[in-house]
Amino acid sequence: MATVTPPTVITTPKPSVRKRRRASAVLWAAAIAVTVPGAAPIVHLLWTVVRPGGFDAGGIPTARLVELFASTALLVVTVTVTALALGTTTAWLTTRTDLAGRGMWSMLVSLPLVIPSYVGALAMLGASGNGGVVSLALAEIGLPKLGVFNGFWAAWGALSLWNFSYVHLIATPSLQRMDPTLEEASRGLGASRRRTLSAVVLPQLRPALLSSSLLVALYVISDFGAVSLLRYETFTRAIYTQFRGRLDITPSLFLSGILVLGALVLVIAEQRNRGRASLAARRATRPPERVALRGGARVAGYGFLATLVTAALILPLVTLVWWAGRGVALGNTFDPVWTEASRSAGVALVAAMVTACAAIPVAILTVRHPSRSARLLESISWSAYSLPHLAVGLGFLVLSIRYAPAVYQTVMLLVVAYVAMFLPQALAATQAGLRQVGPSLEEASRSLGSGSLATLRRITLPLVWRSIVAGGALVFLTVMKELPATLLLRPTGFETLAVRIWSASSELFYTQASVAALVLVGISAVPLYLLVTRDLHR
C-alpha cells in the first residue's frame, strides 16, 4: 500500500502561481533569430559614441548639443502633456458620460492616426499663410489671413493633434474596465465626485497614462517629417541635417547615438515606474457609472470633441482635397501614384506578415516560459521600436554597407528593418492573445496525445489567430506611414507613397504631395478601422 512518511518540518512558503516550464532550444533559437537583428544597429550607434575617442568624432560643439537637447525636451514635454490631456478627456467623454453617439465619437477621435504627422504638417502648411486654404476661406468672409504655421507652436500643435489618439485608445479600455464599486466606495465614504476622480479614478489609470505618455514622448523624439516641414529644430532633425550637409556620415551617427542614449533613459524610467504601478488591476463586474452632463457642460463636451475632430481629421483632409483639386483645375499633371501605392501596400503587407509570424516564437517564449532571459529578449526586441527610426535606419545603412553589401538597398533589408522596428507591435498583440488562452488548453491537447507542433497547429494558433492578425494589421499601418528609415534604406527607384509625399512636400509641390497623401490615408484607414472597432468594443 501507499507509503507513510513522518511529518516534515519544512516551513518555506510555497509558490501558488503556475510554474514555468523549460523552453526548447528550437524555440529559443527562433526567438533570438528574430530579435537580435533589431538590436544590432542600436549597439552600433551606441558604440560610435562610447568607443574611445567617439565623443570627439562628431565634431559638434557641446553647446550645440545642449541647445538641441533643450529644444527637443521642450517639445517632448509640451506635446506629451497636451496629448495626455486631450486623449484622457476624449476617453472620459466617450466612456463615462451620457453624451450621444459615444461610439461614433470614439471612432472619430481615433481616426487621426491614419494621418502621419508629416502629412498633418503638410496640411497645416497648405492651410495657413497667404495662399493657404483656411486663410483664403477667412479672407472670403473678411477676416485676416493666418500667418504661416511654423516653428515651435506649429510643431507642438501638429504632434499633439496627431498623437493624442494613442492616449485615447490606451485610456479607453482602462476606463471601461475600471471597477465601479471602487468609485462607489469612495463616494460612500463622503468623497466628492471631483475627489473621487483624482483619488480613485486617475491613480487606476496611471499604468495606461504612463505607457501612453512614453509612447507619445518616443514618437516626438523620433519624429522627423513634421518638425522638418514645420521648421522646428530637434535632435532628430539635426541628425538629418548633419547627414545631408557633412559629406561624412560620422556626425549623424554620433548624434544618433546620443539620441538613442537619451531615449533609453526614458524607456528605463518608464519600466521602473510601471513596475510599481501595475498592481491596480481589478476586473469590473458591471459597466461603469456614467456622468450625466447637463447644460453648458454638455455643450462644452460636444464642442470639445467636434473641435478636435475638425482640427485633427476634417481640416487636414479638406486641405489635401482642396490642393489636389486645385492642381487638377490649374491643369497640373500629377504623376500617377498607383505604382507607389502598390509598392507601399505590398512591402507593408510582406513586412506585416513576416513580423506577425516572427512574433509568434517570442510571444510563446515570453508568455509560456517566462524567465529572466526571456524578459531580456523581450526588452531587446523593444529597443529598435522605441528608439528614433531615423537613427535605427542610419544604423542599418552603415551596417549593411559594411557587413552585408548583398542586401544593401534591397527590399529584403527594408523588410528586415521594418520587422526589427515593429516586432513589438505584433508581439504585444500576440502575447495578449496567448494570455487569454489558458496554458491548460495546450496541456489538455498534449495529454490527449498531440505533440507540441500539433498542439500549436490545432489549438494555439486557431485561438490566437485573431490577435496575430490584429498585430499584423498594426504593423501594416505603421509601415505604410514610416518615413525616415524608408528614405534611407529603400532600393533605388523604389519610391513609396511616404517617400513621394516627403519629396513633394519638401519642395512644397502641394498637388503631388496631396494626391499621394490622400491615397496613403485611404489605404491606412482600412486596417485602422478594423483595429479601432476591435479595440474599442472589447
Binding site: R21, L27, A30, G129, F243, L247, T492
Partner: protein
C-alpha cells in the same frame, strides 16, 4: 468557421515560408534538424536569386540624382527610348546622396551622380570616387563649367539671386551686395536654406573669393539677423510669392518656374553685381562613378544629358543650357552676360569642408 479555415491556410503558408518558427517545448531532435535545413535552404535560394539578378548583363544604370524628378525623368525616358538602357534613379538631396556615396565608397551601386552644385560633386571627386570622363563629353562644355581634371561636367548653369516680393520690397531697398543682408534693416525679413546644397556651394564660393574670416563674419551676421530658416529653395520662393516672406536667397529658376505655372506673380529676382559672391553662377554637374561596372553606358548617359534635345528640356525649366547653340531662358540675360565671380568651380571642392564648418560654427545647422 469556414472563413477562419481559409485565413488559417494563408497563415499556414506564411508560417511555412518562415521555416516553422513556432515550435513549442520538447520538440524532438528530428523536427529541429528539419527546421534548420528548411531555413538554410531558404537562405540559399535567396542568395542565389540575388546573385542571378546581379549577374544580369543588361542591368539598369543606377543614377543618384540630386535634381528633382520633374527635371530628370523626361531625359531618362528619351535616353531609354534611344539606347534601350533602363535607368533606376535614387532621388534625394545632393548632400544626402554625397554622404551616402561617401559611406558606400567603392561598394556603391551607383553608376552616375548628378549633383545640384559643383562643391558636393567636387567633394566626391576628391575622394577618388569619380572616373575621368571621355574627352568628347568634356569638349561639349566650356572648361570653366567643368572639373579641371575632367571628373565631372556641368549640365546646366544657375545663378544665385535674391528673390523678393515686389509688393513688400521696393527696388530702391534692394541690397547692392549680399553682404548688406546683415544690416539691421533686413532683420527678420529674408529666408535662407543653410543646409541646402546650393547654399553650401554658394558659401564655398564666398570662402574662395573672400576668405574664411570674412565668410564666417557674414554667416554670423546672417544668423544674428533673425532669418527664416528653410530646408530648400522651393519653399522660400513659395513663401515670397505668397507674401509670407519678403525676400530669400535662392537659385534663379525657381521663380521663373512659378511664373510659368501661375502667371504673373508679385515677385522678382534680384541679381547681385559681378564680383559679389552673392551672384555666383554655378554648374549642376554630373560624373561617372569609378566603381561603375558599365562606364560606357554611364558616359553615354552624360553625353545624352548634353544633347541639344535634353538641354532644350532644361531650358523649359529656366536653367541655363551649357552647350552652345541652344540659347538661354526667354526674357533673361544670356549666360555670358550674367554677373561673374572670379573663382574656379573645381576649387569649391576644397572649400567645401571649411564652408560646412563655418555654417555650423555660425549656428545655422
Amino acid at each position: 468557421m469556414r472563413r477562419l479555415t481559409g485565413l488559417m491556410l494563408v497563415l499556414g503558408l506564411v508560417l511555412g515560408a518562415c521555416g516553422g518558427t513556432g515550435a513549442s517545448e520538447e520538440t524532438t531532435a528530428t523536427t529541429a534538424a528539419e527546421t534548420t535545413t528548411t531555413a538554410a535552404e531558404t537562405t540559399t535560394t535567396a542568395a542565389e536569386t540575388t546573385t542571378t539578378s546581379e549577374a544580369e548583363p543588361d542591368e539598369p544604370l543606377v543614377l543618384y540624382s540630386g535634381r528633382n524628378e520633374k527635371f530628370v525623368q523626361p531625359v531618362i525616358d528619351s535616353f531609354t527610348a534611344e539606347t534601350g538602357i533602363e535607368v533606376d534613379v535614387r532621388y534625394a538631396g545632393t548632400g544626402e546622396l554625397a554622404t551616402t556615396l561617401t559611406a558606400e565608397g567603392e561598394s556603391t551601386p551607383a553608376d552616375v551622380f548628378w549633383a545640384q552644385d559643383p562643391a558636393f560633386i567636387g567633394g566626391i571627386a576628391k575622394q577618388g570616387l569619380l572616373t575621368e570622363l571621355p574627352s568628347d563629353v568634356l569638349a561639349l562644355v566650356e572648361p570653366r563649367y567643368a572639373d579641371d581634371d575632367g571628373r565631372w561636367v556641368g549640365i546646366t548653369g544657375r545663378s544665385r539671386v535674391l528673390v523678393y516680393n515686389t509688393d513688400l520690397v521696393s527696388t530702391d531697398e534692394l541690397p547692392a551686395s549680399v553682404f548688406d543682408l546683415v544690416e539691421p534693416e533686413w532683420n527678420g525679413r529674408f529666408g535662407v536654406a543653410p543646409t541646402n546644397g546650393s547654399f553650401v556651394a554658394f558659401v564655398t564660393g564666398m570662402v574662395l573669393a573672400e576668405g574664411e574670416e570674412r565668410t564666417l563674419e557674414w554667416l554670423q551676421g546672417i544668423a544674428a539677423n533673425d532669418p527664416v530658416i528653410f530646408d530648400g529653395n522651393g519653399p522660400i520662393v513659395d513663401a515670397v510669392v505668397a507674401g509670407d516672406l519678403e525676400a530669400g536667397l535662392v537659385n534663379h529658376y525657381y521663380l521663373l518656374q512659378r511664373i510659368a505655372q501661375l502667371g504673373d506673380v508679385p515677385a522678382a529676382n534680384h541679381f547681385f553685381p559681378s564680383g559679389d559672391p552673392g551672384g555666383l553662377v554655378m554648374a549642376a554637374g554630373a560624373g561617372v562613378l569609378a566603381s561603375s561596372d558599365q562606364p560606357e553606358a554611364a558616359a553615354e548617359f552624360i553625353r545624352h544629358l548634353l544633347s541639344s534635345e535634353s538641354q532644350a528640356h532644361f531650358l523649359t525649366l529656366f536653367e541655363y543650357p551649357l552647350i552652345a547653340g541652344v540659347g538661354g531662358p526667354e526674357g533673361q540675360l544670356p549666360l555670358a552676360e550674367l554677373p561673374t565671380l572670379d573663382i574656379s568651380l573645381t576649387d569649391t571642392a576644397d572649400t567645401l569642408e571649411p564652408a560646412l564648418r563655418l555654417i555650423a560654427e555660425a549656428g545655422l545647422t
